[in-house]
Amino acid sequence: MTLGLRCVEVEERVRFSRRSSSIDASGNARRISAGDNLQDVEATYRRYFPLIREKCRRMLGDAAEADDVAQETFVRFWQSARDKDVRAASAFIYKTCTRLAVDRIRERARRPSSDRLLDEVADAAPASDQSLAARRELLLVARTLPGAELEVALLSRLDRLTHEEIAEVLGVSDRTVRRALARLDERVAALRKEPRW
């Protein structure tokens, strides 16, 4: 049984799947708040946004989508946690943008498989082979992985957090983290099994 090939169509669709950054063009955009001190906002943004953006790019790959999530994370951070100390602020940031990224990843996983594969092809963020492989594996299991476990998986596999760090960021027990990672390993191992054919 044969299946043929055609090249051009897919390449064009890959180009269409890229999205441009839209922070200034967004119709829903708004100022943070009329009462906020602009200098405070700018100083906080310059301090925290680079690490938020880097984290989002590690998780999502697509630079434009990562920037969208990073901006939303910053707004939430500004509204809820800007006065926290550095460690608590970082934990808030990690928790918030991980949850927002999980929403995006699960949204991708619900789309038809062909679109998801094109997302992978369109991956434009710089990343090591190791993190690329981890992201692909997570995308493959995202469809069947509960959201809470996917959060643990992202923090472990892409952010290299220890069990203790994940427990602290997410506010769960070490045991919960270990069990979630054990289930993830089982799912990934099942996917990796080479078929006999």
């Binding site: 090939l5 055609r6 062909s114 290299r160 957090l161 760090e165």
Partner: protein, 209 residues
């Protein structure tokens, strides 16, 4: 294998709050140093930021639903198939065989003429699976058989890419055998409901001719 600190530790270092061990590692490690370098690049502050998504509408909807339910005495449940008990959606993994090597296709490396693909499927409650080759508006049935609920199943048939046109596989999970007409209709509608779950796999490819 080098053991790097977590990105959280590196970020804390960039924010001025990290242990001397992390600082010493970052000083000597090119990869961690590169991450810190990216964090040090100045960012432009946008004039406007997006509004956080609110879930208040969800609570409003829930409240409305509860009040409606209290006012109505007859509850109508949707008709469901009794065998639909598994949670989740069907899934399809694509294995690639090239030059005698078999691997899980990552969707990135291009396929080429001569490659063979084989599918591993999980049906989640559907009892039949049909695979077709999509060529223009036509769908040619390549495989049709029973799906095994609850377990991932490797389909017995592999499909070889020959470079002669056609570029996608249609995979349909169903509760009854599908005629060629049903398959064409599934390709058109891409239905996903209790009777049918449809997906199209576009195979990224490189013409090796």
């Amino acid at each position: 294998m080098v053991s790097h600190p977590s990105y959280l530790q590196l970020d804390l270092l960039a924010l001025g709050d990290a242990s001397p061990e992390v600082a010493a590692h970052a000083e000597a490690c090119g990869a961690c140093g590169a991450h810190l370098g990216r964090l040090a690049v100045p960012v432009a502050v946008p004039r406007e930021l997006p509004r956080p998504k609110s879930r208040k509408w969800l609570w409003s909807l829930l409240a409305l639903s509860l009040s409606s339910a209290a006012a109505v005495t007859v509850v109508v449940l949707p008709r469901r198939h009794p065998e639909v008990t598994a949670k989740g959606s069907p899934s399809v993994a694509v294995y690639l065989r090239r030059g005698g090597q078999v691997s899980l296709w990552d969707g990135v490396h291009p396929l080429q003429a001569g490659d063979a693909v084989q599918l591993k499927v999980q049906s989640f409650g559907y009892s039949r699976i049909t695979v077709g080759a999509v060529e223009s508006k036509q769908v040619q049935t390549l495989y049709e058989g029973e799906a095994q609920p609850g377990t991932a199943t490797l389909l017995p048939q592999a499909f070889t890419l020959d470079g002669s046109g056609g570029d996608a596989l249609l995979v349909v999970f169903s509760r009854a055998p599908l005629s060629p007409e049903d398959l064409r209709a599934a390709r058109e509608s891409l239905r996903r409901d209790e009777e049918l779950w449809t997906t199209v796999l576009d195979l990224t490819k490189k013409d090796s001719r």
